[in-house]
Each structure stands twice: as C-alpha cells, then as structure tokens.
Symmetry: C2
Subunit: 369 residues, 2 copies
C-alpha cells in the first residue's frame, strides 16, 4: 500500500497555509470528534467568539460567524450577505486575492470600480484621491495581499472610508495575528480570516467578524445561498451552534489555540513573535547576501516574498521539497518562475530559519542558485 506523505512530520513547512501546528493542537487532532448538538459545544463556541472579538478589538456588540469553508468562501459570504446591487464598491486589486474580490463582485453583480495596483507596490494616498467624494458606499481590500506579500495601509483605507461613508470589508486572512489590526479604530465592517494561517490549525474554517454596521446590512440583505446565509449562521451562533454540521475538530483546535494566544498576552504578543521571526530571517538573507530580491515594498510580518535572481522560483520550490524536505510557498500563473514566498506564521522558531538559510547556502555552494 503506497503511503503518500508518510514523512509529513519530517518536513519543514514555511508555506503560508496550512502552516505548522503546536503540540496541543495536534493532540486534539488525534482525539475522537465529539457529538456537537450539546451545551458543551455551545459553551466552547461562545468562548471562541469572545476570544476572536478580543483579538481583533471588535466592538462589544459585534458578532462572529465560524463557517466551514476556505477563506475564499468567507470572502464570498461577506459579499453576498453585506452588499447589494444598490452599492457602489471600490476594490483594491494587487494580486490573486484582489482578483478574487473582483470576480466575486462581478458574479454577484455588485457595481464596483477596481483600483488596479502594480504587483509588489504599496498603497499610497494618490491611489485613492481620484475616488474622493464620488459616492462610493463600500470598500474591499486585502490587508495583506498574500500572493505578492504586500501589506496595504489599512489606516489609509480606513480614513478614506470614514471621509466617504464607505462600508469596509477587510480580507485579513493572512495578516490576522501577524500585523496589528484594530477593527474598532479602523471602523471596519467585516474582517475575514481562516483557521490555517496564524491560528495555525488545520484548514476548514473561515472566521468572519461582523461589526454592528455589518449586522444591519445583513439584516436587510437577501442572501442568495443558504449554506452561506449569515442570518442563519448568526442566529445559531447566538446559542453557540451552527446551522449545518461544522468542522467540529478544527473548531476544537481553534479553541485551544485562542486560549493559548490569550493567556500568552493576546494578539500583540503573537504579532511581536511573528515580527521577530520575519526580521530574523530577513536579516540573515542580507547577512549572507543570498541571491534573492525582496519583492514587496510594504512587507507584512506573515511572509517574505522573494524573487530569485539566479534560478527559477518554481525550481527552487521543487528542489527544497524533494531534496531537503522543506516547503516554501510557490506562486502560480505569471509569477510562477519569478516568485516564491517564505512564511513566518505557524509553529516556527529561529532554528527552523537557520536550517532554511543553511539550505540556501548549500544550494549556492552547489551553484543551484
């Protein structure tokens, strides 16, 4: 019997999701999954909600939906529950995930204007100036465009939204717990994240935090999909339940991880830890003068996007996987040969980056890079 991934525990995973989990999360993965229409499950879900709200600094009367789907499912859920054909949306498109927002707005016939960003470039005030006072009602963007490793200035977008009365939907899937995020200060209507990024649990759950402004929009919107209907999800979550059988195992792992983060000092501590690892890696890259250019002019702590100057990015990805037991994150499409990414989220340590740097040095020694 061929066993695929037999050596999965011997791999080093520097991808950007799924990422490495801590021992407590893995131990729960080995347990039986409990029946969930119980008071015990409800209690856990209400605590999950409370802790997520705390980590993003949400207003007290915000609500959280735990949806069994990917982050992209979460993005679609936000759009079809909060926006209508009466809206006029602005959307930043600087990579694959911005493109996904564009596709979703198109499919769901939400009128929108696209702010097309050059890949790797930071958002600046002049990108938004042309849209001031033009009657836009909603703004969608990635806090961190994961595909290119660009952190967009959420404060800049937030100020625009406050001036223009725009409802703000933030895809914070890969920046949550990696970069500072204060939902109340930003006056964000929706923030979306996923179980397999800095929460470092297996994939399967999208988390959507909804400010009171979002709850009002949901109330008056007819959702086109029963499974993604936030009215149903929120009504159930009020008693700690879900309308459909959720990924109970992942929700239990999220619970353990949220408590771990909370008791270690909250989002701020986790962000400092991630920033430290990112800086550690970036300093080493420079110190050894490795043949990689940092692609993004506005970095997130979550990822370092690298353009190798001496070898195909995809060939480096394959080489690391097949010969060194390491996953970095390859890019697709027209970035396949040009870019790969090294993640800093999940259960990683300085010594893991030492191993990665040593591997790069070995590859340079062998003239592969």
């Amino acid at each position: 019997m061929t066993c695929i991934y037999t050596n999965v525990d011997n791999m080093f995973n520097f991808a950007v999701g799924p990422v490495q989990s801590c021992d407590a999360v893995r131990a729960i993965g080995a347990e039986q999954v409990p029946y969930f229409r119980t008071a015990e499950f409800s209690e856990m879900m209400l605590e999950n909600e409370r802790l997520v709200k705390k980590l993003v600094h949400a207003l007290e009367d915000s609500q959280v939906a735990f949806m069994t789907c990917s982050g992209s499912g979460g993005m679609e859920t936000a759009i079809i529950n909060c926006l209508t054909k009466e809206d006029k949306a602005l959307v930043i498109n600087g990579g694959s995930f911005g493109e996904r927002f564009v596709e979703l707005l198109t499919l769901h016939e939400i009128p929108f204007t696209e702010i097309k960003m050059e890949k790797g470039k930071a958002l600046k005030p002049e990108h938004l100036t042309p849209y001031e006072g033009k009657g836009y009602t909603a703004f969608l963007f990635q806090n961190h465009e994961t595909s290119t490793g660009v952190l967009y200035d959420a404060k800049l977008v937030s100020d625009f939204c406050k001036r223009n009365g725009c409802f703000m939907i933030v895809d914070a899937i890969s920046s949550f717990l990696a970069d500072p995020f204060d939902m109340t200060e930003l006056d964000a209507g929706v923030m979306i994240t996923g179980s397999q990024k800095a929460l470092a649990c297996p994939p399967g759950i999208a988390i959507i935090v909804l400010a009171p402004t979002a709850l009002k929009r949901i109330e008056r919107t007819k959702c086109c999909c029963q499974y993604f209907d936030l009215k149903l999800a929120l009504k159930n979550q009020e008693r700690g339940q879900t309308p459909w059988t959720p990924a109970v195992g992942v929700l239990r792992q999220i619970h353990a991880r949220l408590k771990e983060i909370d008791s270690a000092g909250g989002a701020e501590t986790e962000i400092v830890r991630t920033a430290h690892l990112a800086n550690y890696f970036r300093i080493k890259l420079k110190e050894f003068n490795l043949p990689f250019e940092i692609f993004s002019e506005s970095l997130s702590n979550a990822v370092t996007p690298l353009h190798p100057t001496t070898q195909s990015a995809f060939r480096i990805f394959l080489k690391l996987k097949d010969e060194y037991g390491m996953w970095v994150c390859p890019n697709g499409g027209d970035m396949k040969e040009a870019l790969f990414r090294v993640g800093h989220i999940g259960f990683l340590s300085e010594s893991d980056y030492d191993k990665l740097i040593n591997t790069f040095l070995d590859l340079r020694e062998k003239k592969f890079i």
Copy 2:
C-alpha cells in the same frame, strides 16, 4: 483554564455524525497538515476519486468533487449546478433533510412538487403514481432520511426516473457504506455524501459523485456561487487539485479510510459489517424487551430510531451523556421528546452495544425508563 470535552476519548459515541474514527484516521489527525499545491497531494486526490467511484459503482467517466463544507453544502452545490428554472422537480419530504431540499429548491427558484411523506413511513409505489407522465425532469430524495431513520426505496424512485426521463439527485449522506447503493444500476445523476458518516472521518468534506448526465448539466448551467461552482471544482480535480484551500487534513484521513475499506473487500464488506451491528443491537432491544418502539417502518443499517414509551427522548439523551458518558443522537423540533437515534456507523463493535444495552437495563432498574 477550563478544558471542555477533556474526556472526549472516554465517551461512547452512538450519534450519526461525527462518529468514532479508527486509530489510523486519528493518527493522521495528530500529524502536521502538509502543503498541498504539490504532485503528492494531487496523486492522493486522484486516488480518492478513483476509490469513491469504485465504492458507489459509478460509471468510468463519472467525476467526483471534494468540497470543503457540510453535507448540506453538498446538497446546495448539487442543486445550483445541476438544476435550472427550466426544470420541473419532484422531491420527497419525509423529515428535516427532505425539508432542506424543499427550502433549497424554493430559494433557488427551481419549480418543484413536494411528495410529503408521513414521518417514519416507507415509500410505496402509490406515492409516485400520481406523478407518472407529468413532465417531471428531476427527482431529489434522501436514500436515508437521517432525521427519522427511514430508508426510501431507491429502486422504486430509479424506476420512476427511468420511465419518466428524470434526472436523479440522491442524498446518500448517511446511507453511503451502510446500505447497498449502485449508482450505475440506479442511473443516478448525483450522489452526495460526507466525511463524518460511514467514512468515519472528522466533518468538513462533502463528496459529490457526478455521472456523465450530471456533467452535461453542469456544463450548461451558470452557477450562482463561486465557492460551490462545480465547473471550477471539477476542472481542478482533473489534476487532483481544488480551487480553494480545502480541509487537507480531512482529505488525508479520507484517503486512509478509503484504502482501508477497499483492501478489506470494498463497500459490500463494510455494509455487511454495519448491518451486523444494527441487527445485533435490534435483537438485544427485543430480547430485553426495552421500552422503546422502533419508529421507522423501513430501516437503514445506519441508524435505529427509537421512540421511548416511558420517558422523554431528550431526557434520555441528556442522562446518557451526563451520567454514562454516552452520546446517542437526539432529535430536534417537534420530535425532540418523542425520538432519539442510535447509530451503527463509525468505529463501533458488539461490545459497545453491550455497554449501551446494559446502560438501558440500568436505567430501567432505576425506573428512569
């Protein structure tokens, strides 16, 4: 730190999903979740597809979609990808899941007629006779209506569909691997199941098998939801991939389980095993003359639905959970006090049923039932 469900591994789970997993599946749950945009993941997914097709006796040119969602998400996916406003559907509604089909057809504006069944009653030829030759184009039903434990006669529906040229969508979520099912013989267009039923993996994945007749329908239907668009899912699955980050961990567990079932003799062996456990339990119930009436006149091997004659069903559920560490499956709504269900799917043995029977005897001794 309060730990909810600490004793989850000491519980006996006779619910109908999530169910108990075998050691191999649990061991994978403890492993790191691998990065998945790789040839290794693709190879696994193609093998998953091949094995699922074999287990349901699908035509060679059928395709399988693995969707990260619940079974209800799978039901909605089938409807929005295979049916249109030009259809005229028949749907059997004999419980919560039939009701869900009705809600979905209503939401998506698919014209339909409901065959309302009395709860607990079997499907008979006379239920279908009024609809012969009336131009119906599609037929949706639960092979096993999980909420009441009624197995509907798939052969009867299939014959109707063949005579009337109806496209057949079968929710086989809880009957897959518990009751015989031959997709080709039945000429079913779609069959839906989930990871947390007889596959005995954690919840998070719906599996949808699509016959060539379904593939043709999908090709010409515009899906109203990107996340659930089967055109995207199937195009990706052709190379063993998914459009969005899937529940990679659960897919790996499904892989182990499919191979286990296949090497043990396939679906037929698993069905015999489940039928044996169901019969073992039912004979004991009778032998000890326990105060429960079997609610369904057409039983699946997956579940025994019981109406207790001396105590509230919900109070029995709570008593078993809180004092004996056992989950049976409670009912909701107007069946809450009248019905509970004992499942026979998942990693269970005769001795587990002995323990359950002994518990019932103890409850009778104590005059609780």
